[in-house]
């Protein structure tokens, strides 16, 4: 019994960490841009495909997909490339909607997500089918005195480290200061000789790269990756950010843990729960939004005409 409970708690924390990696990106981008970057989930899920593609194209000599070392090396390259992809999308498309009504940016990024998904489907060899994705880390590890699979431990630790680094960056560095300044008031920041364009691109890189880590762990956890996984991870990541309160980093983490908790609970207790899990998750989202429209930790914005 305790074993089962411990196993579920481990699943909950692992899933929560993976969702949090995607959710903080949503929250960070919203805080700075003031628009929802709906295709963030699709950008995040680019990384497993990039990693797979790179391994197949270049890594055959190093052992290919079956060699964890080669996989990890190419995964790191894929993370960097995904970050750059985020910047590229900002320059090509999202930039145009900075001053447009929020609705337009929203619809445009939803469409952008679809385009990314379809591009994977058509350009990646055999893109419509699921592709096996190996565990990046194998073996067992000790965590809090428990013997757990090293993969879960790594996912949780990497998430903690990545989010802590993000916190430090936001609160302790010059770039973080600039990001916070732009998110508070874009025009005032410009008057302080901060170039908002640079801050936007930096934010896109950071958010997309962190999301890419989430995408890699997500596929690694599932053992495979398919072009439409991004709907799942994007919607859940966004929901987590919204439940916690958009723009709030701690909120995104709380939201992720809440949603992954519900997810794990439903899958463990409700019969045939796996096929209903999104129903429960979204009922939670709708419920939270009805009672706390700005999310659990979000600040309520007072509007002026």
């Amino acid at each position: 019994m305790t074993d089962l409970v411990a196993q579920q708690i481990l699943n909950w924390l692992t899933l929560g960490s993976i969702y949090a990696l995607v959710a903080v990106g949503f929250s960070l981008l919203f805080g700075v841009l003031n628009i929802i970057h709906f295709s963030h989930g699709d950008v995040s899920l680019m990384s497993p495909f990039l990693a797979l593609g790179l391994v197949q194209a270049l890594g055959a000599g190093a052992g290919g997909i079956s060699s964890p070392a080669a996989m990890v090396a190419f995964a790191i390259v894929a993370i960097a490339l995904t970050g750059l992809l985020g910047v590229l999308l900002d320059i090509l498309i999202i930039q145009r909607f900075r001053t447009a009504p929020a609705m337009m940016a929203l619809v445009a990024t939803v469409a952008l997500g679809i385009v990314l998904r379809e591009l994977i489907r058509h350009l990646f060899p055999n893109g419509s089918n699921p592709h096996a994705f190996p565990r990046l880390v194998t073996g067992d590890a000790m965590l809090f005195g428990f013997r757990v699979p090293a993969f879960n431990a790594t996912a949780i630790l990497v998430a903690i480290v990545a989010v802590s680094l993000l916190f430090l960056m936001l609160n302790r560095t010059r770039l973080g200061l600039h990001i916070r300044a732009v998110s508070l008031d874009r025009d005032a920041a410009r008057l302080m000789a901060i170039n908002p364009g640079r801050v936007f691109r930096a934010t896109f890189f950071i958010a997309s790269a962190i999301g890419a880590i989430g995408g890699l762990f997500f596929s690694s956890y599932a053992g495979m990756v398919r072009f439409d996984f991004s709907i799942d991870i994007g919607l859940i990541g966004f929901s987590a950010a919204v439940v916690g309160g958009l723009g709030s980093m701690p909120g995104a983490i709380i939201g992720s843990l809440l949603i992954s908790g519900l997810d794990t609970l439903v899958q463990a207790t409700v019969p045939n729960g796996a096929s209903y899990r999104l129903v429960f998750v979204f009922l939670l989202v709708i419920g939270v939004l009805v009672f706390k429209p700005a999310g659990l930790l979000g600040r309520t914005v007072t509007e002026k005409v």
Binding site: A102, M103, L106, V107, A111, V115, F282, I286
Partner: protein
């Protein structure tokens, strides 16, 4: 003063001629497009359509002349339009495929008009039109299969069911807006899809099979339609049915657009807070937009279910909602003609350009982004309201 702005008199025949010419040429072009087999011919027709649009854009006087002719001869234009719609199936060379495309295009036109109340008029992002469409289809199909309710009773019943769900979906809109509301509608669509996919009643992923064709005065809609000795394929029955539906939707949309409700929605779009300060009950109008959208989508869903006779959850995914949204954005938000043109074009294009029908979703995505970036007002932008004219 009333006479000062009156258009120049005379040339009533000229106006009628313009109206007739525009409608007949439009119908003839649509016929060519529907029957075109060669993709090069399709591209030529598209280029011609594009050229006409560019010409109208470059020569506003021409556009104003046509618009004025239509405004002055409204009754004649409407009658001629109805006549053309009635005769249209007879000139399609008995092609059941062309008629099928017409039915689907008309259903999408209704859906796009439904979404237009929200996206176009009130600027509420609703990604759940596909779900309302599905609720209508499933509600009517379940009624027909389990209780042998006839199509004519199932039609309003399904619309009512879809409206109730629309109200439910609208309730969170009292508290949320913009991105949050968009998430709620996406979530609603996913929840409905998962429920349809997993519930026993709805047949799971296999859907519902064997929905009986409607009957009217003993004439089954599954049998060919014979008019004055000329036999049309069975799809013609549904062609006329969906044409009536489109007509109802147009009248509905036009009346709402011209009424206080339409104005209130536009006020919401311009500035919600300012609208509230003007004494507009924004919550009520937002919920109303959801209900109206669901009502029309439920209608369309019912016709679809009885037309195809087989429905499954995959007919009503999130991508259907995105497709409908593409139609509204490309056609022109809050412009009834534009939305219909967008629906017809975007239904027919992927079918006609077979080579890239596999890329249809990619094409929709790129279309949305391109229109939002280059021409956010769509092919036919919203016109200013004309009062008393």
């Amino acid at each position: 003063m009333a006479h000062a702005s009156a258009p120049p008199p005379a040339r009533p025949l000229g106006g009628l001629l313009i109206v007739a010419l525009v409608e007949i040429v439009g119908a003839a072009a649509l016929r060519e497009f529907l029957l075109a087999e060669d993709w090069r011919w399709v591209l030529v027709l598209l280029a011609a359509f594009g050229a006409v649009l560019v010409a109208l854009e470059r020569r506003p006087a021409l556009e104003a002349r046509i618009a004025e002719a239509f405004a002055r001869h409204r009754r004649a234009a409407t009658l001629l339009g109805i006549a053309i719609a009635l005769v249209f199936p007879f000139v399609l060379e008995k092609s059941s495929y062309a008629l099928h495309l017409c039915v689907i295009a008309q259903l999408y036109a209704v859906l796009a008009l439904a979404l237009n109340f929200q996206l176009g008029s009130a600027n509420i992002p609703n990604f759940a039109t596909g779900a309302s469409y599905g609720i209508g289809a499933y509600a009517s199909a379940l009624l027909a299969l389990n209780f042998e309710v006839s199509f004519w009773l199932a039609l309003p019943a399904a619309a009512v069911v879809a409206t109730i769900f629309g109200f439910l979906l609208g309730l969170p809109s009292m508290r949320t807006k913009d991105s949050y509301l968009a998430l709620v509608t996406i979530a609603f669509g996913v929840v409905i899809h998962q429920l349809l996919n997993n519930l026993e009643v709805t047949g799971g992923p296999n859907g519902l099979v064997g929905i009986p064709a409607p009957e009217l005065f003993g004439h089954s809609f599954a049998s060919p339609l014979a008019v004055l000795g000329y036999e049309l394929p069975s799809q013609a029955n549904f062609y006329y049915l969906s044409a009536v539906l489109v007509l109802i939707a147009i009248v509905f949309a036009g009346r709402l657009h011209d009424s206080r409700v339409g104005l209130a929605w536009n006020a919401l779009r311009a500035d919600e807070l300012a609208a509230r300060c003007q004494g507009i009950n924004t919550t009520w109008y937002k919920v109303l937009a959801f209900a109206v959208d669901a009502f029309l989508a439920g209608f369309a869903g019912t016709v679809y279910a009885f037309y195809v006779g087989f429905i499954s959850p995959d007919n009503f995914t999130f991508l259907v909602s995105v497709t409908i949204m593409t139609m509204v954005i490309a056609g022109g938000m809050d412009n009834i003609l534009g939305v219909i043109v967008g629906a017809v074009l975007l239904t027919l294009l992927p079918e006609k350009l077979r080579a890239f029908s596999d890329y249809r979703i990619l094409f929709f995505g790129v279309t949305v982004i391109a229109f939002l970036m280059i021409r956010p007002q769509g092919i036919f932008p919203q016109r200013l309201r004309r009062y008393g004219g």
